[in-house]
Amino acid sequence: MEKQVKILAIDDDPNIHTVVKKIFESKPYEVISAFDGDEGLQKVVEEKPDLIILDVIMPGKSGFDVCRELKTHHKYHRFSEIPVLMLTVYPDDREKMHLSMREGMTMEAEEYLHKPFGPDELLKMAERLLGKREI
């Protein structure tokens, strides 16, 4: 049997988890949920997902913090190549990430999607990232 693709969703909003689960479970994907940054990072290590869907504004660690830790901290170096799809509410977030990257950090997420999003948008973006990973 083919290995099932694992997607880790990190978001404090249970509605977003419902949406993400419904969208991906219509395909042969397994969705794992984490409700804050620390739980998310822990599940990255335990579950080794193929894709991370990450919210920006959460209580505790923000999505930026999580992404930065994942991409730069030696603790996660085996996982730093996992593509990250960021869900943002502010249109500026992407620009801010780009600027931080120029300041010498390799913390940029691979893709950004604005909330609210349509199911097809998310699916297409996620599959493009997963496709890149297989090559």
Binding site: D13, N15, I16, T18, V19, K22, I23, S26, I57, V89, Y90, P91, D92, R94, E95, K96, H98, L99, R102, K115, P116, F117, G118, P119, D120
Partner: protein
Amino acid sequence: MDFVEGISRMSDLFGGLSDDDISKLLPLCREKVYQTGTVIFSEGDPCHTMYIVGSGKVAVEIKLHIGRTEETATIDTITRGGCLCCSGLIDPYILTATGRTLERTEAITLDVAEVRGLLEENCEIGYKMMGNLAKVVSSRFQNARETLSHVLSLIFHDFKAPLAAVDSVNRLILGGYVGELNEEQRDMFQSSSKRISTLLNLVTNVIDVTRASAKDLAMSTISLEQVIMDSIELMQPLAKEKGLQMKTELNHSLSPVYGAQDRLKQVLINLLSNAIKFTPSGGIVAVKAKDATDDIQVEVVDTGRGIPAEELPKIFDDFYRGLDLDERGAGLGLSIAKRIIEAHQGKIWAVSPCPGSDKGSQFVFTLPKAER
């Protein structure tokens, strides 16, 4: 007395006072030490004591009533030389904020009744101190405004996040991901989605207004030509749908500008969507850009019905919706555009009818060239 005298001399409240003036105030000063986290005074209480911070840090907090919850916002942090409780000099002598020490703080305290007594007898000192006081109050007021604007953007984020979640759920249902819908159900979900989108747009616009100051914008050296082409590409379908022709006149060697790409795109999209909205079928909407001496000038021109002279001065105001009530919107598009352009040190204005024509409107903005 050295500590007290040293602090008094650098206090913002006692600036400009002579040695003689200070020597009259010194006998009223007492030294006091507060541990971290102490509430020194509370909003709403009568003000009996004034403070001048000698060392440490005091947060000035105000209470905000948001719905049924009460939040605290820090409007200023006072350090060495800064004064607190100026309300003691202003009728009705009630504290307008709470002071909380952020670290161990040494302060000079002054009894308000004694200070007022001294000022009544020494009008010269009173005059100088009131001048200093006006400066302190004005700077606190400015800080309070900035804080409120920040708080507003946080509140609206709290509105936007659940709305966005509900809208995503609606789209999921409409996309057939949770089973097929019958026609009635589809109609109902579609109309509820539409209402939510309207609300989301309003909330997004309010957030944009509060986040349009220079420090909120992520700036870099960018090509304006790219911004213009992207915006046109985005608006082209809307123009086509309305039977409008879109034109561009770009000078292809436009100098780069230092700016926030997405926000400048937002300015152009706002201007273009207005132009499209107010131009009848068969008309033309054009974007022109050229290098001037120190800046780049961009124009959005249309052949639409133009803007009545009495409305022109008001169109960039917050929530101004125009006299035509058929064209509904939050009335924030142009005020967001103005704030974004001004945060870039640029200017924006409108002319109607278009120069050399008897109809249409021309919106112009300038952006300083990036330093090479």
